[in-house]
Symmetry: C3
């Protein structure tokens, strides 16, 4: 009865976004009403793509997200002379690299029905293709019921 | 009876591989027959080394893995003038850095007995030493039984 | 009775440290006596900041940590001409980038009351600000009781 473990798993489809970094915390949590039932647990978000990423960073000033795009596009360049995988476009191989540098999943602790993010933390989608289309996430929530 | 939480944890020893990135999804799942019993859950893979990494990326074209090796070897160079840790060989300090940039663990959602990977996603071993030898992973599977 | 799932979640406040990489394995485990009760499970550490990071790397030679600081400060430079987010100081935007490259959380498998780290693995705090102050971690331990 008490201490019951609860699981909730669903696919969340994110609308198509431009290349760059986008704050998606609210879009995610709006689709997870079950979060409010968890006393202690974890939410994992896992993106099912190899040219987009998930990371956690500053949720306030949008220039941080712009600087992310500038930085990663400089240090993971298009058209590097050593790329062999180039037939899907100049943005493709850098997108794969950025996806692994930043990672395809995040896991956030849950306490008393809320995500235990720091005050300035938010969830970023890294869209690394010029035209990536909509993106699929697996949201897996697991914890002990209140 | 219903909703029972199941745990399975084992050490998987990966055979010795050359420096570079290697697709190991099948080698891993073959050793996890318990996966088929999980209705909803997670598989975590954790590599117990500091000069190899785990990441998820494109499972089809092998040139992606080649480009990963080219890129990381350029942006995490050998013999950088600022390295102090050099007595284990020129490939050692870059290997430590690559291990942390890419990460030592991945966690994959499980649904109805299968990994919930995207169509193009596979598990990569990043072998960052010239002669890294065999590598040990801890595979921890946890979920609700079917 | 048997197979009971146990949760323990707490905030750990890390003392203020200088910019660079710091080994914090012992400081963390000393504050987690509940670890000894877990037969199989996970410990997740999640830092509630966007200018510090957590990663796992070599626990022995301190020059590895020094080389981490040298490398990341070169490849994620201060005062890059493309930064727009600069009003919090030259160390701020690079700190956000390093936080996402390295990540804000780690998850370690637990077996028979101990962390299943490899022989040479330890937990690093990456302090990416010049004066970051004390840092808050959420430690979430979950597993099956012995």
């Amino acid at each position: 009865m008490s201490n019951q473990t609860v699981w909730d798993q669903k696919i969340i489809t994110l609308k198509s976004r431009s290349r760059g970094f986008h704050l998606i915390t609210d879009e995610i949590t709006r689709q997870l009403p079950e979060l409010s039932k968890i006393d202690v647990g974890w939410l994992q978000l896992f993106i099912q793509h190899t040219s987009a990423s998930l990371t956690i960073n500053e949720n306030a000033d949008p220039t941080v997200r712009m600087d992310f795009e500038s930085h990663f596009s400089k240090f993971v360049p298009e058209n590097a002379p050593y790329y062999k995988h180039d037939y899907e476009g100049a943005d493709d191989m850098p997108a794969h690299l950025k996806a692994s540098i930043l990672g395809c999943s995040i896991q956030i602790p849950v306490s008393r029905g809320s995500l235990l993010l720091g005050t300035w933390q938010g969830v970023y989608l890294g869209e690394h293709r010029d035209f990536g289309g909509s993106r699929r996430l697996v949201a897996t929530l697991m914890g002990q019921q209140k």
